[in-house]
């Protein structure tokens, strides 16, 4: 390794979520000002799915967003940003390519596994292989990292980064890296926001199959109602805890995505000059609050501290109600922005 030090001036801003945060930070570097909520909205990142057939550690996956990586894809499509993406078999080749792009003066986004990022708090380090970070410099054996969920930039040793870039599992990170090759100077963010908004509203209200879109919430509710009977008390509690983690902490967006979408609606109201979107934002906030209530009560039950009125049945009722509201919300939103 003969590469010399190279640190690219990079304006890091903390974000609520990794993928949207990386988009916002990378675009700002290339002169396109998009906030994190705008990145979420333009990339149509909000979604809902409960997939009993897809299991991690034997527990079904519930997701509040579209597939990892797709927010970026849709964002690029809607704004005309051209991304260069690479994946690798050979870790050394992957690091060499990273060095080459850094030497061109370009910060690089990449996929990593949280488990192998030593700078993150231990409690969060599970085998979650879809964490996005930006590497913007190299100094000796270390790389400078902008991890969007952190308040400041950090560093990682070359060997550790290599490991994180080549984790196996779901999915294999395969050294995936990406960077904007061309960012259009006068991208029409108005049009992009409108497009992203339409797509989210449409996908949430019309995706077929019971487990996808806002009706997927009712689908989960129906299963949740019978958790205790179907899984037994111990496993039911685990499944419930898993649900909370999917909602609040893992890279699935969760209730946080509902609030971020609310922020996007507020921004859209201004840039699209559609004051009615502010009302939609308010409604989204109310729905987000109910997701939080749900998580709160689920947490009580999980810890076995529940007052008598919190049962799997009552949680299911709550969820069904949220599902109904989201369904109405996205149908009306789809109509309003058609």
């Amino acid at each position: 390794m003969t590469a010399s030090d190279r640190i690219i001036p990079f304006d890091h801003q903390q974000s609520a979520h990794c993928e949207t945060g990386v988009i916002s930070n990378l675009m700002r570097f290339h002169g396109m000002k998009v906030s994190e909520p705008l990145a979420l909205g333009i990339g149509s990142g909000l979604f809902y799915s409960h997939m009993p057939f897809l299991k991690v550690n034997g527990l079904p996956v519930t997701s509040y967003r579209i597939l990892p990586g797709h927010i970026f894809k849709r964002f690029s499509n809607n704004t005309g940003v051209r991304m260069e993406r690479r994946k690798f078999r050979d870790p050394l080749a992957a690091m060499a390519e990273l060095d080459r792009v850094l030497d061109r003066g370009l910060p690089v986004g990449m996929l990593t596994s949280v488990f192998y990022l030593p700078y993150l708090p231990k409690a969060f380090r599970f085998h979650f292989n879809a964490h996005n970070i930006v590497v913007f410099g190299r100094e000796g054996d270390e790389y400078h990292v902008s991890d969007p969920v952190m308040d400041a930039t950090t560093r990682i040793h070359r060997t550790a980064l290599m490991r994180a870039r080549f984790a196996k599992g779901m999915p294999n990170t395969s050294g995936r890296m990406y960077y904007p090759e061309k960012v259009p100077a006068g991208a029409d963010l108005r049009r992009a926001a409108a497009k992203g908004l339409r797509r989210t509203a449409r996908d949430m209200s019309t995706t077929p199959l019971p487990m996808f879109g806002s009706k997927g919430i009712a689908f989960l509710a129906a299963r949740l109602r019978n958790y205790e009977r179907d899984l037994g008390p111990a496993k039911a509690r685990l499944a419930l805890g898993n649900l909370i983690r999917m909602q609040e902490e893992i890279g699935t967006g969760g209730a946080g995505f509902r609030f971020m979408f609310g922020a996007f609606l507020q921004e859209s109201a201004t840039i699209l000059d559609r004051p009615d979107l502010r009302e939609f934002a308010e409604r989204m906030t109310t729905i987000g609050d109910q997701w939080r209530d749900f998580a709160y009560e689920a947490g009580r039950l999980c810890k076995d501290r529940a007052e008598a009125h919190i049962t799997y049945g009552s949680l299911a009722d709550k969820l069904t109600d949220i599902g109904r509201q989201e369904q109405r919300f996205f149908k009306e939103l789809a109509k309003a922005v058609r």
């Binding site: 609520a16 231990k122 952190m150 685990l238 922020a263 947490g299 999980c302």
Partner: protein
């Protein structure tokens, strides 16, 4: 969620390293990013997940001490892996891994394979052959 409702339930999950940010409504009715040190239900769910992992690790350790499993079983659990995931990292089949979880087969492993396991499981070869007392 209003700005002042952003939960601040610290359970040392973030080890004081940083705060996460959440989007919440400020006094002007606009969304903004607000720092948070954690939230009770999230802490409960995290603790629960770690309890399960720690239990599995301890069970594996006991199995090794009792001679039912090779130390590989312990280090595999410690890395939160199952034979399938470990196999992917080793570039071999899960069956082969399961075989090496047996003390007899583990004892017969050559230096090279031990080295590979040690590398994947982030321990030294010496540590790989033992479990903590």
């Amino acid at each position: 969620m209003k700005k002042e409702e952003v939960p601040q339930d610290d359970a040392r999950m973030l080890e004081g390293k940083f705060k996460v940010v959440k989007y919440a409504i400020n006094e002007k009715g606009e969304y903004e990013k607000v720092p948070s040190v954690g939230w009770e239900p999230e802490n409960v769910a995290l603790e629960q997940a770690w309890d399960v992992i720690n239990e599995r690790v301890e069970q594996a350790r006991q199995d090794v001490i009792a001679g039912r499993s090779s130390p590989l079983a312990y280090h595999m659990e410690k890395n939160m892996m199952d034979p399938a995931l470990l196999a992917q990292h080793m570039g071999s089949g899960a069956r082969r891994i399961r075989k090496h979880l047996r003390p007899k087969d583990f004892a017969r492993l050559d230096e090279h394979t031990l080295q590979r396991y040690a590398e994947v499981l982030q321990v030294t070869v010496d540590q790989l052959k033992r479990v903590p007392e």
